[in-house]
């Protein structure tokens, strides 16, 4: 069996998006900035996409900027807000400990430039407290950035409450909605954010294309200088085939959302119930307030990379937050932030399903994970110590 269970990393393009990509590349080869007919036809397609995405997200087309994806959108939103704040003497940036590196590393860079960065903790449930955000905001605050849904443990953050709070306090609010858009309802007016980042490859669109929403009037400066594309905020000839494919993928995901969510929730219930039967393991993140496709577990006594390699041998493609998979010495900052100690965080497994996965596949996943965990535990000195009482179980 061949099971792709890593949809949070990226998704396969849907047929409609693939067709739209090829069609656009063939028919609309003009440069949307050119004055001639081919260029103007490309310009029309571009405007049409912007309008369609605006309708889906609940904003004005003028407020959308096409980018190379989630990372660029996050970088541009945060940098723009920070620099605009600094001009008014506001140099405090508030975010959370569980953000994606696209946000965290941008904040780190700004910190080196002299900004004060506050990363709020999350609870064991992997959710930030709105009251913590409120307490952190002061007159020096330039920006609050809180992700819509977490990429590792799938927890959904109270972004609408945080949006309302920021509006009340007159502070700019950015949300990284890369994992949410196309999977759960996202309406910009309801969130009341000033910036929102999304990425097409997370909802069956192409890689390397995304959107930055910036509210009309919100500070925005280009990261990439050059031509006057994207209202002068993002230079570079637009990747029209990718933008059209993204638009189609978003329309398809949103049209299918209710049905997909039902399927995914059912599969998630089955997967969580099945994996929970393995001894000394725990689900990461809140059981209810999570993305329907995300199931993340820690298994005591084993290490995640070897788990992934053995699952891959069985045809299962998954992900882990262990140090040895991330290429750093520490396990995932998200798992540490929800209170998983290092020993346990190394033994994490993230399974992110898509609507094309089946019950049969979930049953195979459960059986395979059980088998591999048991196999690895049998060669683990940590597991032996736990079993023989020389070490205390944590999970």
């Amino acid at each position: 069996m061949d099971i792709y269970a890593d949809h949070a990393a990226t998704t396969k393009m849907c047929d409609a998006a693939l067709r739209a990509y090829a069609d656009t590349a063939a028919k609309f080869y003009g440069n949307a900035s050119s004055l001639h007919t081919a260029g103007q036809r490309a310009q029309e397609v571009l405007s049409d996409c912007r309008a369609r995405i605006a309708r889906l997200l609940g904003c004005d087309a003028r407020e959308l900027y096409f980018t190379s994806g989630g990372s660029e959108s996050d970088n541009q939103a945060i940098t723009s807000a920070a620099h605009a704040g600094a001009k008014k003497g506001k140099k405090k940036l508030i975010s959370t400990a569980i953000e994606h590196h696209a946000v965290l590393h941008t904040l780190k860079k700004l910190e080196r430039e002299g900004f004060e960065v506050v990363l709020l903790p999350v609870g064991e449930d992997g959710i930030v407290e709105v009251s913590d955000v409120e307490a952190a905001i002061d007159e020096n605050t330039a920006l609050v950035s809180v992700m819509f849904a977490n990429n590792e443990i799938g927890t959904i953050q109270p972004v609408a409450e945080i949006g309302a709070l920021c509006k009340k306090k007159g502070v700019l609010f950015h949300t990284d909605a890369v994992q949410a858009v196309g999977h759960i309802p996202v309406n910009i007016r309801e969130i009341g954010c000033d910036y929102l980042a999304l990425s097409a490859h997370k909802f069956s669109g192409p890689k390397g294309v995304g959107v930055l929403y910036a509210r009309r009037g919100a500070p925005l400066s280009p990261l990439i200088e050059g031509g006057a594309q994207e209202h002068g905020k993002r230079a570079g000839t637009e990747d029209l085939p990718a933008i059209v494919a993204m638009t189609v993928a978003l329309e398809t995901s949103i049209a299918d959302m209710d049905a997909s969510e039902k399927v995914l929730k059912h599969l998630q219930d089955r997967l969580i119930a099945g994996l929970s039967k393995i001894e000394h393991c725990a689900l990461n993140g809140d059981r209810v307030r999570r993305l329907p496709g995300n199931t993340s577990f820690c298994f005591e006594g084993i290490e995640g990379e070897s788990l992934l390699l053995l699952l891959d041998e069985k045809g299962i493609e998954a992900s882990s937050g262990s140090a040895c998979t991330s290429g750093s010495l520490d396990p995932s900052h998200v798992l540490l932030a929800i209170g998983r100690v290092h020993d346990v965080a190394h033994g994490s497994l993230r399974l992110t399903l898509g609507p094309e996965n089946t019950e049969e596949e979930v049953d195979y996943l459960i059986e395979s994970v059980k088998e591999v965990v048991e196999y690895l535990r049998n060669m683990s000195p940590v597991w032996r110590d736990l079993k023989e009482g020389r070490r205390q179980y944590i999970l």
């Binding site: 590196h101 006594g301 990379e305 390699l309 262990s322 290429g327 396990p331 290092h342 060669m379 000195p381």
Partner: protein
């Protein structure tokens, strides 16, 4: 996955000498759960020869493969020769490891030394500290670098 050589994958999927020696003459455990890799090495010694070696490992693919390869390289060898085992030799025997995984092979070298040191101490055999610098000073070797992409 092509992160690892075929040799690494072979030793990872079919590790040699996994297990415990109940009446081991020496046992060495190195690494810690905090950093993500722990290796435990068990040895039997007769007339200065390593007659049996077994290991248990909590760790990534390269940690398990390095332990397995290290046991193969020292089994049947005199202690003096086993003490000369370096992580570089282990990595080479595995047809190489990714740079940021070299530290996992250091653990294999350390585990062998730790088990032999334990044997010397238990039997009051005098030893030269220089042979055990890897475990006695517990210094950091190659470290990881970089970040995840997604």
């Amino acid at each position: 996955m092509s992160l690892y050589s075929e040799k690494v994958m072979d030793h990872f999927k079919h590790p040699r000498n996994v297990g415990v020696i109940e009446d081991a003459d020496g046992v060495g455990e190195v690494g810690n759960a905090k950093c993500g890799d722990i290796m435990k090495m068990y040895i039997k010694v007769e007339n200065g020869i390593l007659t049996d070696v077994k290991f248990e490992t909590f760790g990534c693919g390269s940690a398990i493969a390095s332990s397995s390869m290290a046991t193969e390289m020292i089994k049947g060898k005199p202690l003096s020769e086993a003490l000369g085992l370096t992580n570089k030799a282990v990595a080479e025997a595995l047809d190489g490891l990714p740079a940021y995984k070299m530290h996992c092979s250091v653990l294999a070298e350390q585990a062998v030394q730790a088990a032999i040191l334990d044997y010397y101490k238990k039997n009051n055999i005098p030893y030269d500290e220089a042979d055990f610098k890897c475990v006695l000073c517990a210094h950091e070797h190659d470290e990881h670098g970089g970040d995840d992409g997604e």
